[in-house]
């Protein structure tokens, strides 16, 4: 892709300042930067507890050029619902309200509020940046932590024994108008999906894989390559779902073996060849299931 193409596709406007408090190589900071580039200044962010509670900066500072409400851990979707209702009550139909939560605040403690908002089809954008554990509290497992991963609550001797929760399918089951997965290493895909989300009304859900160098025990210059590998290996497929019905892949997923992806992360260092084969089998099985779902949801030929 040429430079000119990138320039055309990625808005120049920056609504995230440098000097924010993210760790080097933080995927979550990249995610916010790109999402806000598309959404622009007419955006209000509801921010439940997550790494971003720190990245945004301490009182009285803010690294964002949009209004930000720090909210309780499990309240992202509910607070965003309230903000949207208030704007509508005063006749503002334009401003985008975003709930911005990590995987803990989405998959676990905030799932009830998210389900409520999605069921009511609240006119909000819910973004989950997923670093696959409670990173802000020091790397504890969440229900987004992949099978076999080390965290401080799933030590190497007893690594994570559950497969990652399928959050996109959960949101699709609510028949929200738009739900999609993307990563910080696919800016063209991410930006297209935010634009798409912005163009429709109702509850829109974006699931963004955001690698965490300290939590994944990876080098801080590997965020992009790891997220790209996650897609190429089909560990994290790029999808979009309309109205809970129409599933679509939005990238090529060549199906590279998972082992190199896992071996580059310290959180998988303890895995045996047998365990890696188990992960490969899980990834393959989920991919096949997804392919069936995508095929089944294709419109019938005319």
């Amino acid at each position: 892709m040429s430079q000119i193409e990138i320039k055309d596709k990625v808005p120049r406007e920056e609504l995230l300042d440098s000097g924010h408090l993210a760790c080097p190589g933080c995927g979550a900071a990249l995610a916010m930067r790109m999402v806000l580039k598309v959404l622009g200044e007419k955006t209000i962010v509801a921010l439940p507890a997550c790494c971003w509670s720190i990245i945004a900066g301490p009182y009285p500072q803010s690294s964002l050029h949009v209004p930000l409400y720090h909210a309780a851990f499990e309240t992202g979707a509910a607070v965003a619902s309230g903000i949207k209702a208030a704007l509508l009550a005063r006749g503002d139909t334009e401003t985008m309200v975003v709930a911005w939560a990590g995987d803990g605040g989405t998959f676990d403690i905030g799932l009830q509020a998210l389900s409520g908002a999605a069921e009511r089809n609240e006119d909000i954008l819910y973004v989950c940046y997923d670093n696959e554990a409670y990173m802000n509290t020091g790397i504890q497992r969440s229900s987004a932590t992949p099978w076999g991963a080390w965290t401080t609550t799933t030590p190497a001797g007893h690594p994570e024994t559950h497969v990652k929760k399928d959050i996109l399918a959960i949101l699709a089951a609510h028949r929200v108008p738009y739900a999609a997965s993307t990563t910080v290493a696919h800016p063209e895909d991410l930006i297209a999906k935010v634009r798409r989300a912005k163009s429709v009304h109702g509850t829109r859900f974006l699931h963004i894989l955001a690698p965490c160098p300290p939590g994944w025990k990876a080098n801080d210059d590997e965020t992009i390559s790891l997220a790209r590998m996650a897609v190429r290996t089909r560990v994290f497929p790029l999808l979009e779902v309309e109205n809970g019905e129409r599933w679509r892949f939005t990238a090529e997923h060549p199906g590279d073996p998972v082992e190199p992806y896992l071996r580059r992360q310290g959180r998988f260092r303890h895995l045996t060849d047998v365990q890696i084969a188990e992960i490969q089998a899980q990834v393959t099985a989920r991919w096949e299931s997804l392919e069936r779902r995508v095929r089944a949801s294709e419109p019938a030929p005319i």
């Binding site: 200044e41 007419k42 955006t43 209000i44 509801a46 509670s53 720190i54 945004a56 900066g57 301490p58 009182y59 009285p60 500072q61 803010s62 964002l64 050029h65 949009v66 209004p67 930000l68 409400y69 720090h70 909210a71 309780a72 499990e74 309240t75 979707a77 509910a78 607070v79 965003a80 619902s81 309230g82 903000i83 949207k84 209702a85 208030a86 704007l87 509508l88 009550a89 005063r90 401003t95 009830q112 509020a113 389900s115 409520g116 069921e119 009511r120 609240e122």
Partner: protein, 389 residues
């Protein structure tokens, strides 16, 4: 306009008159009539509010927090377990300085399941930074509901209107409903000093280091202190326009009293009856009704009770391991009065879980206090009135 309505609907009418803009609510007995009536009002256009039918009380308060932070007038209602579920976000509204208004129907907490009244649900929220106003009649409920918005928005603190399950929530009384235009003049649309505004982007509630957190608490406390005065101004304004006033505390025949009963909620009405009876028999008995629990009306209570020989506090609540909560707070408020003016304060726990508080119950409290049976450290049989042996 006079209407005969239940206490729950008195809340709904108050919210309608206040023109709440965002309502987020979840059903729970015995509160549900409030939000049902509001749903009707929104559906037929009598109230132009956005109504969010959330999936829990926790989300009801969270949605009110978001809406209030965005600058509009917000309301919710709950009871008992619902209020307890909200506890974390009650703190958020309190320290976030958001003028959310909520009605809580006092209902005992489980287990065992109880839908009947006592005050443990609201008193467990004592330290969440909410103003708490306990009501006695449906007229007071309606008036207090409208006033609550004015008070909340004047001091940037949330306000809880509290009424007893069934004895008020489901009891019909004639209520004078003020004209909407008159209420509009009393309570104009909310104009928030600080709000989520894309034209003036700010962050609210971010990480607060030890270098600044304590000042936030101090400002909150100052606002609570100010709320006492503002409440008086709000009531004075209301009285001027509508002719009714209740007071943070109400003093009823205490000037010459040698025993003063202290009550809150609907027990007050029963206690008035007992005071009438005793006065008719020549006994010098008076009554203080406590409407405002937070901020605590310390100075008013000291003024009312200084020099009274004996005070009997009726608590429809208990702090397990300590005692009745109003009694303990009143003792603390009176402690540094000069010894000659400091009353003996007897506390009685009555009416938990909706047990009837009859004139007989209150008479027993009075008689025990008169007999001087209770003072100082209390034995179990001294604290409890109206329990089975």
């Amino acid at each position: 306009m006079k209407k005969v309505i239940v206490g729950n609907h008195a809340v709904s009418w108050g919210v309608k008159l206040a023109r709440a803009e965002v309502i987020a609510a979840y059903p729970i007995t015995p509160q549900t009539q409030i939000v049902e009536e509001l749903a009707e009002m929104c559906a037929d256009g009598r109230l132009e509010a956005r109504y969010i039918k959330v999936e829990s009380e926790h989300s009801a308060m969270a949605a009110c927090i978001g809406a209030a932070a965005a600058g509009v007038r917000t309301f919710t209602a709950t009871s008992s377990q619902g209020l307890l579920l909200m506890h974390e976000v009650l703190h958020w509204a309190g320290l976030g300085r958001l003028p959310v208004v909520m009605a809580d129907i006092n209902r005992a907490v489980a287990p065992g399941w109880s839908i009947w009244t006592d005050q443990n649900d609201t008193l467990a929220q004592r330290d969440t930074g909410w103003i708490q106003l306990y009501c006695e009649t449906n007229q007071e409920v309606l008036d207090t509901t409208v006033q609550a918005f004015k008070l909340a928005e004047s001091v940037d603190l949330p306000v809880m209107i509290v009424l007893d399950a069934f004895f008020l929530s489901h009891t019909s009384e004639p209520v004078d409903i003020p004209e909407p235009a008159a209420v509009d003049a009393f309570l104009p649309r909310r104009e928030a000093r600080f709000k989520l505004d894309v034209n003036a982007p700010r962050a609210f509630g971010g990480l607060t280091t030890p270098a600044v957190y304590m000042e936030l608490r101090m400002r909150q406390q100052e606002a609570m202190e100010r709320a006492r005065e503002v409440f008086e101004q709000v009531e004075a304004d209301w009285e001027k326009r509508f002719g009714r006033r209740y007071g943070a505390i109400e003093r009823d025949r205490i000037e010459d009293a040698d025993i003063v009963l202290v009550t809150s909620g609907t027990v007050t009405s029963t206690a008035r009856h007992v005071v009438n009876e005793r006065r008719a028999r020549g006994e010098k008995v008076g009554l203080v009704k406590v409407k405002m629990f937070r901020p605590f009306p310390t100075a008013a209570l000291r003024d009312a009770l200084a020099g009274v020989p004996k005070v009997a506090v009726l608590d429809r609540n208990i702090s397990p391991g300590h005692g009745g909560i109003f009694a303990e707070e009143i003792r603390a408020a009176l402690y540094d009065l000069p010894a000659a003016e400091r009353p003996q304060v007897d506390g009685y726990v009555i009416g938990l879980g909706g047990r009837d508080v009859t004139p007989h119950t209150i008479a027993e409290c009075l008689d025990r206090t008169r007999a001087g049976m209770t003072s100082g450290a209390r034995a179990r049989e001294d604290l409890w009135v109206g329990v089975k042996s």
